[in-house]
Structure formats: structure tokens, C-alpha cells
């Protein structure tokens, strides 16, 4: 039940749901600033979000406490996952894994 709540948390992001999820994944291995997040997402997902979409998602994630800004370094503000963000990301990935397994199983038996 708790997992459903976490998943719904990202669903509320509307058109920012996909960038929000990819930002969380990008931050899963450590803090990054906006440019590094953009490059990282482009490298593992093949998607390059515009600056407006990226910061729209970052603002939502930060306001919901899923990520937090760190002290600026070299005029750039890195962001890192919070405990809540990590929990939400784990829940979302687990949910996606279930859907992927079901899909693959059905395709295999089709």
C-alpha cells in the first residue's frame, strides 16, 4: 500500500513525470548539478531534456522533498537524493520491474 502512495507521488508530476524519474535515477549514484544531470540522462536514456523541462521537474522534486540542493560549488548547485526520494525511486523501479516482467512473460507465451 505504501508503495502505491510513493508511485502516485511521481504520477502527480504530469508531463514532468518522465524527467522526474530520470533525474532520480541520475542522482541515484551521487549528487549532480543541472548540466551533469542532463548529460547523464542523455547517456543512459538517450533523452536530452530542455532546460525548462529539467528545472520544472527539479522544482517539483525539491518541493516534495525527493531531492535537495547542496552548497554551490563553482557557481553550480548540485542536487542529491533524499531518503524520501530514494524510497520513492525504489518503489517506482519495483513497480516498473513487475510491469516489465508481466509484459515479457505474455510476449513469450503469445
Amino acid at each position: 500500500m505504501a508503495r502505491r502512495d510513493d508511485v502516485a507521488d511521481l504520477d502527480e508530476f504530469g508531463r514532468f513525470a518522465e524527467p522526474a524519474l530520470l533525474i532520480l535515477v541520475s542522482l541515484a549514484d551521487g549528487a549532480k548539478h543541472g548540466y551533469a544531470i542532463t548529460e547523464d540522462i542523455a547517456s543512459f536514456a538517450g533523452v536530452r531534456f530542455g532546460p525548462g523541462s529539467l528545472y520544472g521537474a527539479i522544482a517539483r522534486l525539491e518541493s516534495r522533498g525527493l531531492i535537495e540542493g547542496l552548497e554551490a560549488e563553482d557557481r553550480r548547485n548540485p542536487y542529491q537524493l533524499t531518503a524520501v526520494g530514494e524510497k520513492a525511486l525504489r518503489a517506482r523501479l519495483a513497480s516498473m520491474q513487475v510491469v516489465a516482467k508481466v509484459g515479457q512473460r505474455r510476449l513469450a507465451s503469445a
Partner: protein, 171 residues
């Protein structure tokens, strides 16, 4: 292209403006980036985020996590729209559309119609929808902000409709 950051709300610019400018500077200027920034600015005005709220960095332990999540969920949910607000918004949308359609139909009969009446009829549902934002996405905003945003959108919708009608008459 960093001048487009001026379209964002002041509080948003104070929080993210410098970072956004840095990111824009790393990308080649393009029409797509401009559209993305304008869309982001519109979103920032209509869906203000409470990014200045306390983050979950101090949420250590399961005992504090759930209350923190619930608190943040409410804080980030935008205006507190009640069922009554939803009813009011629906009433404005339906009643406004009906009133506008009737008024424009009367105008067509009275003045013989034409492309301008037809064009306004086509957007007669859109203007009340814009007005209904007073009870939904713009709830809690000051009267001045509501007037500027709702009035601005309504003027743009009507201007586009009239421009389309004019274009139709000259081609």
C-alpha cells in the same frame, strides 16, 4: 536566450534562475529550447512549487518519514482546491459557454453573422474555461495576479480567434 528567464516568476528566478542561465549557456540556442523555456515559465506561474519548504534531509528514520511525505505531498500540491471550488469552476465553464454561445447566436441573427462571429463561436468554450481558473489553478493568488493571468489569456484567445477570422477574409 537567457532573457527568457525573465518570464519566470520572481521567486522561481531567485531560486533557480542562475542555475538555469548556466545550463542554457551550455546549449546551442534553438527554437525548441525557446519553446521549452516559455512552457516552463507558464508552468512555473500556474504551478508554483514550494521549493523553499524544508527538505527531507532531516527525515531520518521511518517514524518521521510518513508524516514528512504527507506534509510535502500537501505542500507541493498547489492550490487547495475543494469540491465546492470544482463545482464553481464547472458552473463557470458550462454557464459561461452557454451564455456566450447564446449571445453570439443572437448576434449572428441580429447582425447577419460572418467569419468573426463563427470564429468567436469556435472559442466560446475556451474563454469560460480560462475564467474558471480563478477557482482551480489560480486559487489563492492575489486579485491582481488573477486579473492579469486570466485577462491576458482571454485577450490572447479572442485575439487569435479574430485574427484567424480576418485571415480567412483576406485569402
Amino acid at each position: 536566450m537567457t532573457w527568457l528567464i525573465r518570464l519566470y516568476p520572481p521567486a522561481w528566478r531567485r531560486r533557480y534562475g542562475r542555475e538555469l542561465a548556466e545550463l542554457i549557456a551550455t546549449q546551442p540556442a534553438s527554437f525548441g529550447t525557446a519553446i521549452d523555456l516559455v512552457a516552463g515559465a507558464v508552468d512555473a506561474w500556474f504551478n508554483p512549487q514550494s521549493s523553499t519548504a524544508a527538505t527531507a534531509a532531516d527525515a531520518k528514520g521511518a517514524g518521521t518519514m510518513l508524516p514528512r511525505m504527507l506534509q510535502l505531498r500537501c505542500a507541493g500540491h498547489g492550490p487547495n482546491v475543494t469540491a465546492e471550488d470544482t463545482r464553481k469552476a464547472a458552473l463557470v465553464m458550462l454557464g459561461g459557454t452557454l451564455a456566450l454561445v447564446l449571445a453570439l447566436m443572437w448576434g449572428r441573427v441580429r447582425y447577419g453573422g460572418g467569419p468573426y462571429f463563427d470564429s468567436l463561436l469556435a472559442v466560446s468554450w475556451l474563454v469560460p474555461t480560462v475564467l474558471s481558473q480563478r477557482y482551480t489553478s489560480l486559487k489563492g493568488r492575489s486579485n491582481r495576479v488573477q486579473a492579469v493571468l486570466i485577462g491576458g489569456q482571454a485577450v490572447i484567445v479572442i485575439a487569435i480567434a479574430l485574427a484567424a477570422a480576418w485571415f480567412n477574409t483576406v485569402i
